[in-house]
């Protein structure tokens, strides 16, 4: 598209970076180097000496209690806050090399549902960044329709509605469409589902994962909700009092918490929560020879073990048939789940 940050054509030659060649091959979308933010008059820094590399196309969730500095860390990426010390790089270019407005137009930004402009229609809201980028009108119109389709709001019905005429979940879909409008490579999401009821939140999370599999954006997502973090993240950054205490895969955060704080925060003793991070296909046994379906409930291979456990207990069936596109590929029993818990989780 030519607008995404760090596009080879636009970045090449702009800033010869001495480390560029060494770093070739390591694709890092966002890199924090010893970033500290001290607000004037605050007794302690909001963010203290944070170093973090976010890989290209990965979904990273910043998790921590309120006041831990997670939102501050996020807002330094689009320069709503400037670090007191340290530097932030996107695609190996220091973000201060661009003007703040140019940088921000290349980064999608989603906040809690209040973020839509109430005096603009859905279409106008989505068109904000394309307009700032000076796209021609027809291209903007096409893009608006395309994005509304993407977030499953039929354009004919929703284009000319105002935010107040949408439900909270719909508003957040529009917020997501708006953030994607300029086709940014990086998406910043600040507790986007915080003010939404549990059922809608779950469906928005699914939607976001579906979109992410398709679009492969680099997402930095702030939340204080542990289950949301476990569900969405490729990697979780756990923060406490301005510092990063752990940066790891969700299962590792749960099974090998860095310290007592992380242990308590994520509820590392909660076996059922841990099962929710293991997929059925890693625990199932291959089909026994001469297997014939005998009324076993079926489950998908990419479902999680928590669901499988629940299904086993609810139906009282001795085993589940793991079914992939109508074809049984394995079986799963309580023993399999127990064995997996022992091996995978307790290590």
């Amino acid at each position: 598209m030519g607008f995404s940050y760090g596009d080879a054509e636009t970045q090449g030659g702009v800033s010869p970076c001495p480390h560029k060649l060494e770093r070739k091959g390591i694709v890092s979308a966002i890199r924090f180097e010893h970033v500290t933010k001290q607000f004037p008059g605050a007794s302690a820094p909001a963010v203290l000496d944070c170093t973090l590399t976010v890989e290209d196309g990965s979904f990273v969730v910043i998790l921590g209690p309120s006041g831990c500095g997670k939102t501050t860390l996020l807002k330094m990426v689009n320069r709503l806050y400037e670090p007191t010390a340290g530097a932030i790089y996107i695609d190996d270019s220091e973000i201060r090399q661009l003007s703040a407005t140019t940088l921000r137009r290349q980064i999608g930004y989603v906040i809690q549902q209040v973020g839509l402009f109430p005096h603009m229609t859905v279409a106008q809201n989505i068109a904000v960044v394309p307009r700032l980028l000076g796209w021609p009108r027809e291209r903007i119109e096409r893009r608006v329709d395309e994005l509304l389709e993407l977030v499953e709001l039929p354009p004919a019905e929703y284009r000319s509605r105002y935010p107040s005429q949408l439900s909270g979940g719909q508003q957040q879909r529009v917020g997501l469409a708006r953030a994607l409008a300029g086709d940014p490579k990086v998406l910043l999401m600040d507790e986007p589902f915080g003010a939404i009821d549990a059922i809608t939140r779950a469906s928005l999370q699914d939607e976001l994962l579906r979109l992410q599999r398709r679009l492969k954006k680099t997402i930095l997502f702030v939340t204080h909700d542990v289950d949301e973090a476990l569900r969405l993240a490729d990697r979780i950054v756990v923060m406490r009092e301005g510092r990063i205490v752990q940066y790891d895969r969700p299962i590792a955060v749960l099974t090998q918490p860095a310290d007592a704080f992380v242990h308590e925060l994520v509820g590392a003793d909660d076996m059922v929560r841990q099962l929710s991070l293991v997929r059925v296909e890693t625990a199932m046994a291959p089909l026994p020879a001469g297997f014939r379906r005998n009324g076993e409930p079926s489950i998908a291979p990419d479902a999680d073990l928590r669901h499988a456990l629940s299904l086993l207990l609810r139906t009282g069936a001795p085993a589940l048939a793991v079914v992939d596109s109508q074809q049984p590929i394995g079986v799963l029993t309580l023993d399999h789940i127990r064995a997996t818990a022992k091996n995978e989780i307790e290590g």
């Binding site: 807002k75 689009n78 709503l80 703040a100 407005t101 140019t102 940088l103 921000r104 137009r105 290349q106 930004y109 906040i111 809690q112 209040v114 973020g115 402009f117 109430p118 005096h119 904000v128 960044v129 700032l132 105002y162 107040s164 005429q165 708006r178 910043l188």
Partner: protein, 213 residues
């Protein structure tokens, strides 16, 4: 009462030329005062909305001006501007300043900070944020301020007649001097109708620019 009204109507038609001139003068005074007050107060209100200290100072000064009776301001202006339209519209402008200033200040101050931050976060410049986001959101409240000012100024413009600056107030002073209520009504009724009309038009305008809730 009905008879007095009828006589007032006859008086107005008998003095049609004078009546129309007085109406014109009245509207000119009102329009001038409101126009100047709006030009001063909307930009000033945007400035004050960004600083609590500036807002407190400026709004207090303007409010204390309002406490001085308009008639007094009128007489105070005479030594400098004479018995002229200028004296009249200075007094009227001062009257119109506080509601417009206070509403503009409030309108910009009460815009959801998250909305303002997201405007920057999406890459708007300060100007773009002001014109594309803040101004449209503030507009209904600003118009409400102008509406309050309009009604006040239409009614108070009758005072201009006291210093010989014309307007529909001439009939009020004349009726009072001649102890003739009919002549007084020739001034009073059109002023009341004008105020009502302005109120209606402005509230319709206010609704038209209000984002759907």
């Amino acid at each position: 009462m009905g008879e007095t009204l009828l006589r007032a109507y006859e008086y107005a038609t008998d003095h049609q030329e004078e009546f129309l001139r007085a109406l014109g003068e009245h509207l000119l005074l009102v329009g001038l005062a409101l126009g100047i007050a709006t030009l001063i107060c909307v930009p000033l209100g945007i400035v004050t909305s960004r600083s609590r200290a500036v807002a407190a100072t400026v709004i207090n000064i303007f409010n204390s001006l309002r406490v001085v009776p308009s008639l007094a301001i009128l007489f105070l202006a005479i030594p400098y501007f004479g018995l002229s339209l200028t004296s009249a519209w200075i007094a009227l402008t001062i009257l119109a300043l506080p509601p417009i200033l206070i509403n503009t200040d409030t309108a910009f101050r009460t815009i959801n900070p998250a909305i303002k931050e997201v405007a920057y976060g999406m890459g708007m410049t300060g100007q773009q944020r002001l014109w594309r986001v803040e101004a449209p959101l503030a507009l209904p409240v600003i118009i409400a301020g102008i509406r309050t000012a309009t009604v006040e100024v239409i009614a108070s413009a009758t005072l201009a007649a006291f210093i010989g600056s014309g307007g529909l107030g001439i009939y009020v002073t004349r009726g009072f001097a001649l102890y003739d209520n009919a002549i007084l009504l020739v001034g009073a009724v059109p002023v009341a109708l004008l105020a009502l009309l302005a109120e209606m038009v402005m509230s319709r305008l206010q609704r038209a620019v209000q984002p759907p809730a």
